[in-house]
């Protein structure tokens, strides 16, 4: 299948996803389940990744700046901006594309090959909306919070490890992270995050929904889901950055 027919089928699927639910209560229950599965269940990995990214960025920047002309507080500034602009929104979303994306694709793919999607359809349930809408909404709502948490943890991790390894002092670091703070960077990061959250749920859902065959194909859908959502996240990152920051 060519890329254009994938795009066409994706758009058609999305047009069926964003429809009025048959019953709000049932969808709401699904939604909270997804908030739990996508959001709360990812807190651990987000925290670990963020703290380590912040710590490593701090130490690396400090070593690269051993020039007398660059003030030491620039370390804090660099960590802050790289976490807010890139590491938290983009890297975290790519990691979530791996974790959440493969999960969504194989869950929906399994439902497809074991006729559970057919069973939903036969009951008169809009299977695409029922299975996909709660996931997209949950991701779009909860992942920005994960990213904000990641920003704090990343900067915090940088501070703690920076001070512990002696490359920077608390005073300089804190001065750095408050120096010339541009609030729009956070807005920009959150806009990106919302787009990425949509991509990393809708694309795996698409591959899962159109799985055909058996266990092998379900596995293949999971792989495709991760690869394509990662590529599209990177591509959209470029486009959004060009649009908002350039």
């Amino acid at each position: 299948m060519g890329i254009l027919s994938h795009v066409g089928r994706f758009v058609l699927l999305m047009s069926r996803v964003f429809r009025r639910p048959e019953k709000f209560k049932v969808y709401a229950q699904q939604f909270w389940k997804e908030v739990d599965a996508i959001g709360l269940n990812s807190l651990g990995i987000v925290a670990i990744v963020s703290i380590f990214m912040g710590a490593v960025t701090t130490i690396q920047t400090a070593y690269n700046m051993e020039s007398p002309w660059i003030p030491l507080y620039a370390v804090g500034l660099a960590v802050r901006d790289s976490m807010i602009l890139e590491f938290s929104p983009t890297i975290i979303c790519i990691i979530l594309a791996g974790k959440v994306g493969s999960n969504i694709a194989s869950e929906i793919g399994t439902m497809r090959v074991y006729e559970q999607i057919d069973a939903l359809e036969i009951m008169g349930v809009n299977s695409s909306a029922f299975l996909i809408l709660p996931k997209i909404l949950a991701a779009v709502l909860i992942i920005p919070f994960l990213v904000i948490i990641s920003m704090f943890l990343g900067i915090g991790g940088g501070w703690i490890f920076g001070v512990m390894s002696g490359v920077v002092t608390t005073y300089k670091f804190v001065y750095g992270i408050t120096y010339w703070f541009i609030p729009f960077y956070v807005t920009y990061a959150l806009i990106k995050t919302v787009v990425f959250a949509f991509l990393l749920t809708s694309i795996p859902a698409y591959f899962g929904y159109y799985t055909q065959g058996g266990a092998v194909e379900v596995g293949a859908s999971g792989t495709k889901a991760v690869v394509y959502s990662t590529i599209l996240i990177l591509l959209c990152n470029l486009i959004i950055t060009q649009m908002l920051l350039a």
Partner: protein, 250 residues
């Protein structure tokens, strides 16, 4: 009543259904029989719209199914109950939740009424102590029965069962057959049952359609099927030595 006319369906080069015409009356158990791979499952999936047909007509009552849009089909499907060959239970839900699912989606009853209905259905398929188990924790035959309970939960006007008693012991099998027959009579349902089981054919077959290599080869009642001279159907019905001996003894 469901009427289908001249249904054709191919998968790529493979012509699976070849011009099938049939009428399934309300209040009767209509059986579809035929060899494995003859196209029975594909036929029922075409009738309910899970496969699109290449050509032909499908009418539910006087409503033309082929021209219905997404919304109209959704509406109609709330009146359809279907048992899939593999059960198709939702494996993240317990047995009880599976049966409750269509009720919570479409009925405005209170939770306790829905529970009662679900338990009533589970009771009729003789599953009383499995409510809290997950599909992975029950046997194949139990899954089948849960799926039947789920299919009948909404009191459908049209009921499709793909091999309701494969994987069941003879006794439970008869219970299920009788259940299908009873609810068909009771609610004047239009029931279509795919089966391999000659026992069911003889017990509940009001109207039997024999599919042979994608064609409708024969049609008649369970009385007729024993008398017909049609070779393919005799090969099917009298496949076992036991049935042949029975025939010789007649």
């Amino acid at each position: 009543m469901i009427r289908i006319a001249d249904i054709n369906k191919s998968f790529g080069e493979k012509h699976v259904l070849k011009g099938i015409t049939a009428t399934f009356e309300a209040g009767k158990t209509n059986l579809i029989i035929g060899q494995s791979g003859s196209g029975k499952t594909v036929l029922t999936k075409c009738i309910v719209g899970l496969h699109s047909v290449d050509s032909g007509q499908i009418h539910y009552g006087d409503k033309d199914f082929i021209v219905m849009d997404f919304k109209e089909k959704k509406q109609l499907r709330q009146e359809i109950g279907m048992l899939f060959q593999g059960g198709a239970l939702f494996d993240s839900l317990t047995v009880e939740e599976n049966v409750l699912f269509p009720l919570s989606m479409f009925s405005d009853q209170s939770m306790s009424e829905k529970r009662d209905r679900a338990n009533f259905c589970l009771n009729r398929v003789k599953l009383d102590n499995a409510n809290k188990l997950f599909p992975a924790e029950i046997s194949g035959g139990m899954k089948k029965r849960v799926a039947i309970a789920r299919a009948m939960a909404m009191n459908p006007k049209y009921l499709f069962c793909d091999e309701p008693n494969s994987g069941l012991d003879p006794q439970t099998s008869i219970v299920i057959d009788n259940l299908i027959k009873e609810i068909t009579d009771e609610y004047n349902m239009t029931t279509v049952v795919i089966t391999h089981d000659m026992n069911s054919v003889m017990e509940i077959g009001d109207n039997i359609i024999f599919i042979y290599k994608g064609e409708k080869w024969w049609e008649g009642s369970n009385e007729d099927i024993l008398k017909t001279e049609n070779k393919e159907i005799n090969d099917f019905v009298y496949a076992s030595k036991y049935m042949r001996r029975l025939k010789a003894a007649k």
